[in-house]
Symmetry: C2
Subunit: 136 residues, 2 copies
DNA sequence: ATCTTAATTTAGAATTAGTCTAAAGTTATG
DNA sequence: CATAACTTTAGACTAATTCTAAATTAAGAT
């Protein structure tokens, strides 16, 4: 998905975020930032086993958690799955869940207008929306 | 939460849904429909152990899954927890996640107006919204 | 009521997703 | 180079949920 970053660019992003750009982290980053689309940890591990067979399960989870902490990724959990999905789009956006493919599709928040009249005393600072349906 | 149903009313609801109203199912229903607020399976089990100590873990999960199937409950999964929460409100509604208490609060959809201009070919039939913030 | 079958519940094993541990390997620094 | 700090790893562990197979209970037919 999105234009692929070079190794150098990935290194820079990691360093700027205060994360040492190790080989494993760069490899995982390349996959989650360039090739994958809302992958699960298991998707990452499966890819690594094929393409970069020097990454342990622990490192996959450690790295994904680190990337979430430094806001290079966002965690997404949705009602139809019990696995965490990792989102390389850290900008505010929404999702469409395609019931046919089981995939999440990003929805630009500019296409969505929400007016919520929340009860008194509710201070909202974030909103998650998942549209569900089919894409044809 | 909401006005408590009598045993008879619960029996009727289960029967109408095609589910045999066994003692365990009635007990679980009373808890999830009358007393609990977006409980997890574990909440149900903990309550059962105290108040109706004849319900196994398997029955808790079986019953909750059955109640979801017959649409007496809805499953809710949200990004801050890896446990399924069971919602006795099966009407279309949204949620506010109170980051202080960790609880979900129902939001009447009449208070929320959403205008989504989804891409061509997207047929949406349901929308999930979780507002996040704090209630004071 | 008794027999027979189907539905339900149960304890505990199994599975799945994810975390933790402690040792081994790597990287950064003086 | 030496040493400390950081990272990775295999595999043990945990938490949530599902599965299995036996025991219990309920329903239906004589
Ligand atoms: Mn996480
Ligand atoms: Mn379920
Ligand atoms: Zn996304
Ligand atoms: Zn609700």
């Amino acid at each position: 998905m999105r234009s692929c970053l070079t190794s150098e660019e990935i290194k820079t992003r990691l360093s700027l975020a205060g994360v040492n750009p190790t080989a494993q982290r760069i490899a995982i980053c390349r996959f989650v930032l360039c090739d994958a689309d809302h992958p699960t940890a298991d998707d990452v591990k499966t890819w690594a086993d094929k393409n970069f067979p020097m990454v342990s399960r622990a490192t996959v989870y450690n790295t994904l958690n680190t990337l979430v902490q430094v806001k290079i990724l966002k965690e997404v959990r949705v009602s139809h799955s019990n696995k965490v999905m990792y989102d390389s789009n850290t900008e505010h956006h929404y999702h469409f869940f395609d019931e046919t493919s089981g995939k999440l599709i990003d929805i630009d928040p500019d296409r969505v207008e929400v007016k919520a009249d929340l009860p008194k005393g509710f201070k909202m600072h974030e909103m998650e929306i998942v549209f569900k349906g089919k894409v044809k």
